[in-house]
Amino acid sequence: MTLLEVKELLRADSYTECDLSNCEVKAACGADLLSDVLAFTKEQVLLLTGLVHPQVIRTAEMLDLAGIVFVRGKVPSPEMIELAEKKEIPILSTSYPMFKSCGLLYASGVDGDICD
């Protein structure tokens, strides 16, 4: 599934200039604990989170994540968008809650196997 398909499935808004149709997502994880994400997540995973601060972008950069979806209607700040653009991390925001977002992705074939 591409990030463009993720955007449509979750009825999400995109906040970065990335070409979402070129970003492939094979696995995703839902987490509000960045410590776990840093410890257990392999590269090219899509992160769904309710945390909204610049360190979410930094975490995605270090792990080479495929992108970030902010759930529960959380909207990234201008400084986060600027940082994400600079680091070329696609960011989306959906009004759907975490469980529904993860469920929709999983039912559409996105894997939950995120560990190396």
Partner: protein, 148 residues
């Protein structure tokens, strides 16, 4: 620990890390990651170095009075030294256990402070050493071998 045994002069990077700077935290790790990429290191080594330095940066920002990240890049390995001044760690063995944390509530609300930082750094490194003195500070030295 094999720091400094290679006869080749390494490329050195040095970054000062400020206490409580949650906006810039991660910038040093980002620069280290880019440098390793330009020098031809492989994906897994770069990723492990990025995670290890980022965890170290966050630890300095969260727990210390300030510190630094020093990186020595050799053709076959990367030596990372995270040094801080501050309260130190009274019980290093306890601090190395997954789940043990002394992080304040503000940090936990950001999704950090789950007691995974030091264990994750150890897991990312091929060699790991930690020295800490109470009321002085902590030094973590990590070595990552190319393709290791």
């Amino acid at each position: 620990m094999t720091e400094g045994k290679s006869e080749i002069t390494p490329i050195e990077l040095f970054f000062e890390i400020e206490r409580g700077d949650f906006v810039r935290a991660g910038e040093a790790s980002s620069k280290i990651k880019k440098k390793l990429l330009r020098l031809g290191f492989t994906g897994s080594t770069i990723r492990c170095a990025a995670i290890a330095t980022y965890e170290a940066e966050m630890n300095i920002v969260i727990h210390s009075l300030g510190g630094s990240l020093k990186v020595k890049i050799y053709p076959e390995k990367v030596v990372l030294v995270a040094k801080d001044e501050g309260p130190g760690i009274p019980d290093v063995a306890l601090a190395m256990k997954e789940g043990f944390s002394t992080a304040p509530e503000q940090v936990r609300e950001m999704g950090f402070g789950a007691g995974m930082g030091l264990p994750n750094m150890r897991n990312c490194a091929d060699e790991f050493e930690i020295e800490s003195r109470e009321d002085v500070g902590t030094t973590v030295t990590m070595v990552l071998y190319k393709g290791g």
